[in-house]
């Protein structure tokens, strides 16, 4: 027995090691790091149940098949003097193992179908949010029935110094944004998902939502979070250089808190409208402009305007040339290149500030101060 056991363990070493490590982790308590999470929605729970049922069925079949195989490996070996059998077909057995799996599949297909139909039931949504993927950020627009629509961009907040290991990484490294999506708890929220440039995919595991954001298409999906909290996700479709750096953060809050937040956002939007009528000094524009630059331009044009994926801003013939052309590129982008049209992404106040900043930073010294009204006029043509 000793000899046989030794051979058995030699053969079984790999799978046993894997199983042991998996069990050790599961026993460690934190299953969320090794398994799907049911999340905070009913659909998520149903998907989780489906996942577990199929996992268990597969495991049982696997144990059966591998059990027979390992029985052969242990007992049907030449070294034990076994004379090989000569059978090589059996219509009955073969029909059985064609038909039985077919019925197991039907058993799986039934709950899968009902869950899928529920996921595809977009009726009775209580609110709509338009989600637009950009290289490499998300834009959220609340399509409010009452009052103005509210929209904003949501950018990665993790600083480059953490990514490039100059600083310790924070708790939510790469999963933190400057402005999260806010939705009310217990509310069926419908997401209309699209993209501005390439294909992205909006994925928040805890909300059981993943939908591709495709330019030219508007996809539908929905969620109803049953628990308040902060839930994090990431872009799931390769979308270029910074695909790994466009996270999603969703704050699920109480309905009251959501109401207050929305009112505040609408007031803020009104204030921006007011700001658009104002005139700013060079210093004010430079200060605001730096903030906008770091958020919107830095990824491609570099922290010191030295360029990268995009052209250099420092000494650029555009940033040190005709203002009209500079505004035009900022607002309309350069078609066919990675330079996007920022006219729809930045409000006129921010656009004026960042153009001013580009013309007067990094050694550029044009001395002109661009005002929101200039941007407005340029857009009007």
């Amino acid at each position: 027995m000793g000899f046989k056991a030794k051979r058995f363990w030699k053969l079984a070493l790999g799978p046993v090691l894997m199983l042991m490590s998996a069990l050790a982790l599961a026993a460690g308590g934190d299953v969320s790091s090794v398994n799907m999470s049911p999340g905070v929605t009913e659909v998520g729970e149903r998907i989780y149940d489906l996942h577990m049922i199929i996992l268990i069925i597969c495991t049982v079949i696997g144990v059966g098949v591998f059990g027979v195989m390992f029985y052969s490996i242990i007992y049907h070996r030449k070294s034990k003097g076994v004379i090989p059998a000569t059978f090589h077909e059996s219509t009955k057995v073969e029909i059985a193992w064609t038909v039985v799996p077919f019925f197991i599949l039907i058993a799986m297909a039934v709950p899968a179908t009902t869950t899928l139909l529920e996921i595809y039931d977009f009726d009775d949504a209580e609110m709509d949010i338009l989600v637009t993927g950009y290289q490499w950020k998300w834009k959220y627009e609340y399509l409010n029935e009452e009052g103005d629509n509210v929209s904003f961009f949501s950018n990665l907040r993790t600083p480059q110094t953490e990514i490039y290991n100059a600083e310790d990484k924070g708790e939510h490294y790469l999963l933190e944004v400057d402005e999260p999506l806010v939705i009310p708890v217990g509310t069926k929220v419908r997401f209309l998902v699209t993209a501005n440039d390439v294909i992205h995919s909006w994925w928040v595991p805890a909300l059981a939502v993943k939908k591709d954001a495709i330019p030219g298409f508007i996809n539908e999906t929905w969620t109803r979070a049953e628990t308040e909290g902060v839930f994090r996700g990431q872009c799931a479709e390769l979308c270029g250089k910074d695909h790994g750096f466009m996270p999603i953060v969703v704050n699920v809050v109480s309905k009251e808190e959501y109401g207050q937040w929305m009112a505040a956002k609408q007031t803020e939007a009104a204030e921006i409208k007011q700001l658009m009528a104002q005139t700013f000094t060079m210093d004010e524009q430079m200060e605001r402009g730096k903030g906008v630059y770091d958020r919107a331009c830095l990824a491609c044009h570099g922290a010191a305007g030295e360029g990268g994926l995009g052209k250099a801003i420092a000494g650029s013939p555009i940033a040190t040339g005709d203002l009209g052309q500079h505004l035009d590129i900022g607002i309309n982008g350069v078609p066919g290149t990675a330079m996007q049209a920022f006219g729809g992404q930045l409000n006129d106040v921010d656009m004026a500030a960042v153009i001013t900043y580009q013309r007067n930073a990094f050694g550029n010294n044009m001395g002109d101060t661009v005002q929101p009204i200039d941007v407005y006029n340029h857009k009007k043509g």
Partner: protein, 526 residues
């Protein structure tokens, strides 16, 4: 007849101008191994960068080039040519033919490959870098937003397709016309069957891929908008066309592997393959189903629910013929007289790991669950279980099994078994934890990741380095065998080996079956 018994020409011209199926098979195999090392080196760069959170070694843009080239080179440069090489060596010997039906085309279909991959690899040094949209190169990331090198990539794909189509036509023509008298279809070894079906798949889908890249070329250079929404085109169309090629493609990779395993398991079980007929029918069913399941790669793309349901049901059905195959292999081992030489170990490894990959495939077929799995590391784990453990393990088994026949020398068994165990353990340490991080929410194709994924990624990287190192041992063992292995002269080499290729002298002479062998009509199949 005497003047036909010449040996190979001398020097470089032997290889450049050869029309001999064994020479061409050898070149395919060495070329694919070189590509395996190159694609593997890219994988090592990827795993080194993912060893820890944060960007340490390379930039995100280069990371994307690495994942793209790793996938393209492994699929088109390593796995596919390796099985074409095996087909070249074995199909004529297995069906009792003197050579392939179209030997000059055979030469050409090999020799256009090396320059093509040189061109593809050279895109790394071009302005803007190599293609970086993934091996699936979804538009418009691969068209409007791609680096200029995409044009060279498109040309490479066209030439690769040409090579594959020529290789497939050759295999179809050989199997249909050159079988020895008495070698009926249902007597052919299963490896020949799986390759015949694979060749039909290739002829059917490579032109579709060529169509997809041609549309890309038009979009990039000639102002069309096939895939550009701004011009009235449809980015999703690209995915449909790509996966209409891409799904049969994964069976193109795995079917010849099924064939290899179906030859080797009976040999070391000393027992005939169980259910030969059902194996043939299962292979044909899988091939047919492979054409009607493509959109299961696109569950999150926003298809209507009827489409989702159709593709889900069709995909689940594939589990039936695949299950038949696994059951047949296990039953072949049942009550055999088993021994565990290196080829058998690799086949058992294949059986275990491919079955696990099949299970995760079944899980992925469930559309609602796929909303959570899709584009996560769970998918990465799944397809490496079927591609690496499926294709690469069976390829390793094939080399150990037939190399002694080819060169008349035996490999070092201890080294072979060591190669197997290091591969098996390294492979599982690499890819098993990727199931966990995928389920926990880590997307694929990202150069950096959140902190909760750190431990498993480090484990994965360590496993990858172990697995990578084991292939160096493989290379050494193969070279040592060819140069200085213990000579074998027994025609059968392996006690339990059956089939025409084991009836010729060892090492296999330069020309075989110049007169067709006699097939015993009573003998069911090899």
């Amino acid at each position: 007849m005497g003047d036909h018994h010449h040996g190979p020409a001398k020097g470089l011209s032997r290889w450049l101008f050869t029309t001999n199926h064994k020479d061409i098979g050898t070149m395919y195999l060495w070329f694919s191994f070189a590509m395996f090392i190159l694609g593997g080196a890219f994988a090592m760069i990827i795993r080194a960068e993912l060893f820890q959170p944060g960007m340490q070694l390379i930039e995100p843009a280069f990371f994307n080039q690495m994942t793209t080239l790793h996938g393209l080179i492994m699929v088109f440069g390593a796995i596919m040519p390796s099985f074409v090489g095996l087909a070249n060596w074995l199909i004529p010997m297995m069906i009792g033919a003197p050579d392939m039906a179209l030997p000059r085309m055979n030469n050409w279909s090999f020799w256009i490959l090396p320059p093509t991959f040189l061109l593809l690899a050279s895109t790394l040094f071009m302005e803007g870098g190599a293609p970086a949209a993934g091996w699936t190169f979804y538009a418009p990331l691969s068209t409007t937003y791609a680096a200029p090198s995409v044009t060279f990539f498109i040309f490479s794909i066209h030439v690769l397709g040409l090579s594959s189509i020529m290789g497939s036509i050759n295999i179809i023509a050989t199997v249909m016309n050159m079988r020895a008298p008495g070698m009926t279809y249902m007597k052919m070894p299963l490896f020949v069957w799986t390759w015949l079906i694979t060749a039909f798949l290739l002829v059917a889908v490579m032109p579709v891929l060529a169509g997809a890249v041609t549309m890309m070329l038009m979009d990039v250079h000639f102002g069309t908008s096939f895939f550009s929404a701004a011009g009235g085109g449809d980015p999703v169309l690209f995915q449909h066309v790509f996966w209409f090629f891409g799904h049969p493609e994964v069976y193109i990779i795995i079917l010849p592997a099924f064939g290899v395993v179906s030859q080797i398991i009976p040999a070391f079980s000393r027992k005939t393959l169980f259910g030969y007929d059902s194996m043939v029918y299962a292979t044909a069913s899988i091939a047919f189903l492979s054409f009607i399941v493509w959109a299961h790669h696109m569950y999150t793309v926003g298809m209507p629910v009827a489409g989702e349901l159709f593709f889900m049901y069709a995909t689940m059905l594939i589990a039936v013929p695949t299950g038949v195959k696994v059951f047949n292999w296990v039953t072949t081992m049942w009550r055999g007289a088993l021994t565990f030489e290196t080829p058998m170990l690799f086949c058992i490894g294949f059986l275990i790991l491919f079955t696990i990959g099949g299970f995760t495939g079944l899980m992925l077929s469930i559309a609602p669950a796929d909303f959570q799995y899709h584009d996560s590391y769970f998918v990465v784990a799944h397809f490496h279980y079927v591609m690496v453990a499926g294709a690469v393990f069976s390829m390793s088994a094939a080399i150990y099994f037939w190399l002694p026949k080819w060169c008349g020398r035996m490999y070092n068994e201890t080294m072979g078994k060591t190669h197997f165990w290091i591969s098996f353990i390294g492979f599982n340490i690499t890819f098993f934890p990727q199931h966990f991080v995928g389920l926990a929410g880590m997307p694929r194709r990202i150069p950096d990741y959140a902190l909760q994924f750190a431990d498993f990624n480090m484990m994965s990287s360590i496993g990858a380095f172990i697995y990578g190192a084991s292939q160096i041992l493989f290379l050494y063992n193969v070279i040592a065998t060819i140069v200085a292995g213990k000579p074998v002269s027994d025609e059968k080499v392996w006690e339990g080996a059956e089939g025409l290729e084991w009836t010729i002298p060892t090492p296999a002479p330069y020309h075989t079956f110049e007169t067709p062998p006699k097939i015993d009509p009573a003998h069911a199949h090899s």
